[in-house]
């Protein structure tokens, strides 16, 4: 995360490869289901034995005796509808919810987040020297309508209906390598709701440029169906 501050995001998941290295983020939507982005995985039937989801810690490299850390093997991967770029990861066993680990709500189907809604992103990704290495960082943004977002690009449509935009910030602030797959969580009716998923885009935390995320509400029916099955 470029810019931002150390923070608490109990639904943000650190995805770890076989070497135990963090490579992407995710969001805990059920005790045994995590949402992330397709770009982080080699295929829709990737062999994920040895891959793990880590929750409950604020540190990139928690010590073995970190009392709150939970690390659970990933047992399966389901790819979302082709245009979604989403994946759902099944955990081998449910994680235990507590003050450090919580579920994030899913939005209503096809819900549009009103402009100016306060949202935040979270992740353990690269800071590009902006400080607070090795801990979870969060950054706040405000939603912008897609129509307004598209005015930022003269040449082509910047965002599609299945994407969500946040308002440009006057400072360098935003997601970077290692944050992809993590949440854009917005506060609605006193609940944090997973409105977007961080996707790879050119550049990290560019100032005065909107940030684009996958709009989760378009895929809530798919998410529910996967969890039901």
């Amino acid at each position: 995360m470029v810019g931002g501050v150390p923070g608490n995001s109990p639904w943000t998941v650190s995805l770890r490869n076989r070497q135990g290295e963090h490579f992407c983020g995710g969001s805990l939507v059920k005790e045994d289901w995590v949402i992330s982005t397709r770009q982080c995985f080699s295929s829709c039937d990737a062999d994920l034995s040895g891959y793990r989801a880590m929750v409950g810690t604020l540190f990139t490299n928690p010590g073995p005796n970190d009392p709150d850390m939970q690390s659970v093997p990933i047992s399966g991967i389901r790819c979302g509808p082709s245009d979604s770029g989403l994946v759902m990861l099944k955990l081998e066993r449910p994680v235990t919810l507590n003050s450090r680990v919580a579920l994030i709500c899913l939005p209503p189907e096809r819900y549009i987040v009103p402009p100016e809604t306060k949202c935040e992103i979270a992740g353990w990704g690269d800071t590009q020297g902006t400080g607070h290495e090795g801990v979870l960082k969060v950054a706040h943004f405000y939603v912008m309508s897609n129509d307004e977002c598209n005015t930022y690009s003269k040449s082509r449509k910047l965002v599609l209906d299945n994407e969500i935009c946040t308002r440009p910030m006057p400072v360098e602030l935003g997601a970077c390598e290692g944050d992809y797959g993590g949440p854009l969580a917005c506060l609605t009716h006193d609940c944090w709701v997973l409105e977007g998923v961080i996707i790879p885009t050119r550049g990290c935390g560019k100032k005065n440029a909107p940030a684009v995320f996958t709009r989760v509400s378009i895929y809530v029916d798919w998410i529910s169906k996967v969890m039901k099955m």
Binding site: R18, D45, G76, S84, Y111
Partner: protein, 452 residues
């Protein structure tokens, strides 16, 4: 510090079934290492099966190469066979070779060792010397390897030409695909089994790396080293390279090469992207500044390490590069488009496909659909006339189009290889209405007390 298991080749979740086995073999309730030791001490023991549930083994006088014996899948058993009987290459001069090759290098049939015709000789089969049938053997330690007397009265004996394990399977590229059965390092040290943590502890548990084929104690290259290697059974030497012959042709077999997008992990990506996802220029592969690294192009000939292009020489998640930013060693190039892995679409559908009545019956990944009548109907979809055969349908009004239950247990359902007829499907969005959430999305936000 060698394990007695080093003399055995394991076949997981398998049992050896003899057609006329009867009920003669005793079960020994022992640890697998003790079973191996006991089998090694018995001349007529060639293999043993290990029952993972009862933690016991049966010592067997046959192998998969014996008559009336077959290997069968059985998740309760692992079979361990003596390498000398199942390896199709020789170690050293091949004195211990007990395979079933029975023709010479020039194609002549071998004479049975128990026969003295057409060629009289001094060798008599015994339990110790392994002179069974007419198999190639090396009872006189001929440096050229196993041989036999031939059935051609004009040719008394001939070499069998069985290759040494170092030469039997050659290396392409850096030997990531090497699946041969060499189990010694270039200095002659015996390899440690990958499934053991002694004498050297290591991260390469075969269960964690099923795609790396970390079989027994054979030389492998699971970490994109320059060539296959292994941990050694010598406590003073952790790991060493193995000496394996190189193939003439050097190309990667198991990757799809493309330049406009990347498939799988992108090991075959040969495009010209030179920036990381965040836009940092990549370091040239042939340079060691600002980051020192081992991926020198001349040592990795098949990885396409030209210029400063994004590549994946080490089996990472996607193409990557060392960056020109001294503070960031490496970064992924996630901005490269991923090649679509969908199968060709069959026909099209309107709206969300609820009225689709076509005959597409495979998912977008090509997995065959299950018949609707065979499913346990997890989604409690009411039966309808349209749910025929195993055709893709949309009985639950899924906004992403027709789908089906699949025959792949890892994919309970998936969308079909059908595209919307009207191009981009319209997404209807809803304004905020009455929204209610239960216990999710809550957290304790603690005020940070700023001390001095």
């Amino acid at each position: 510090q060698r394990s007695p298991l080093n003399d055995y080749q394991r076949s997981k979740a398998t049992e050896l079934v003899h057609l006329y086995e009867g009920d003669v073999k005793e079960e020994i309730k022992e640890d697998v290492h003790i079973c191996a030791k006991k089998c090694s001490e018995l001349l007529d023991c060639r293999s043993f099966d290990y029952n993972l549930r009862s933690r016991s083994c049966r010592l067997l006088p046959w192998t998969q190469a014996s008559a009336h014996v077959t290997l069968q899948k059985n998740i309760n058993y692992d079979v361990y066979q003596k390498k000398d009987y199942v390896r199709d290459c020789i170690m050293g001069d091949g004195v211990s070779y007990r395979g079933t090759v029975s023709r010479t290098r020039l194609g002549k049939t071998c004479q049975h060792w128990r026969l003295k015709f057409p060629h009289d000789h001094k060798y008599s089969p015994s339990n110790q010397n392994g002179l069974n049938e007419n198999y190639c053997r090396n009872p006189d330690r001929d440096p050229a390897g196993p041989w036999c007397y031939t059935t051609d009265k004009n040719v008394r004996h001939q070499m069998c030409g069985i290759k040494k394990c170092e030469e039997a399977i050659c290396l392409t590229c850096n030997g990531e695909d090497y699946r041969g059965s060499l189990d010694r390092t270039e200095t002659g040290r015996e390899c440690q089994r990958w499934d053991l943590q002694s004498p050297h502890r290591h991260p390469y548990n075969p269960e964690k790396y099923p795609d790396k084929h970390l079989d027994d104690n054979y030389c492998r290259n699971p970490d994109s080293s320059e060539r296959p290697w292994c941990y050694t059974t010598d406590p003073g030497t952790e790991r060493e390279y193995c000496s394996i012959a190189k193939c003439n042709k050097q190309r990667l077999h198991s990757v799809t090469v493309s330049s406009s997008c990347f498939s799988g992990k992108g090991e075959g990506y040969r495009g010209k992207a030179v920036l990381t996802t965040s836009g940092i220029p990549c370091q040239r592969w042939d340079s060691q500044t600002p980051h020192k690294h081992r991926f020198q192009p001349d040592k990795y000939p098949c990885k396409g390490l030209e210029e400063n292009y994004c590549r994946n020489p080490d089996g990472s998640e996607a193409p990557w590069c060392f960056t020109t930013d001294p503070k960031m060693r490496m970064a992924y190039c996630f901005q490269i488009r991923r090649c679509p892995d969908d199968v060709l679409d069959v026909g099209c559908f309107y709206g969300n496909g609820e009225t689709y009545t076509g005959t597409a019956n495979r998912t977008r990944k090509g997995i065959p659909c299950r018949h609707w009548s065979e499913t346990s109907n997890e989604l409690q979809i009411p039966s309808a006339d349209s749910l025929q055969e195993n055709y893709c349908r949309n009985p639950d009004g899924d906004s992403h189009g027709p789908w089906c239950y699949t025959k792949d247990p890892n994919t309970p359902f998936d969308y079909c290889a059908i595209k919307p007829c009207d191009g981009e499907s319209a997404v209807s969005l809803k304004e905020a209405e009455n929204i209610a959430f239960d216990s999710c999305g809550k957290r304790t936000d603690r005020e940070v007390k700023k001390g001095r």
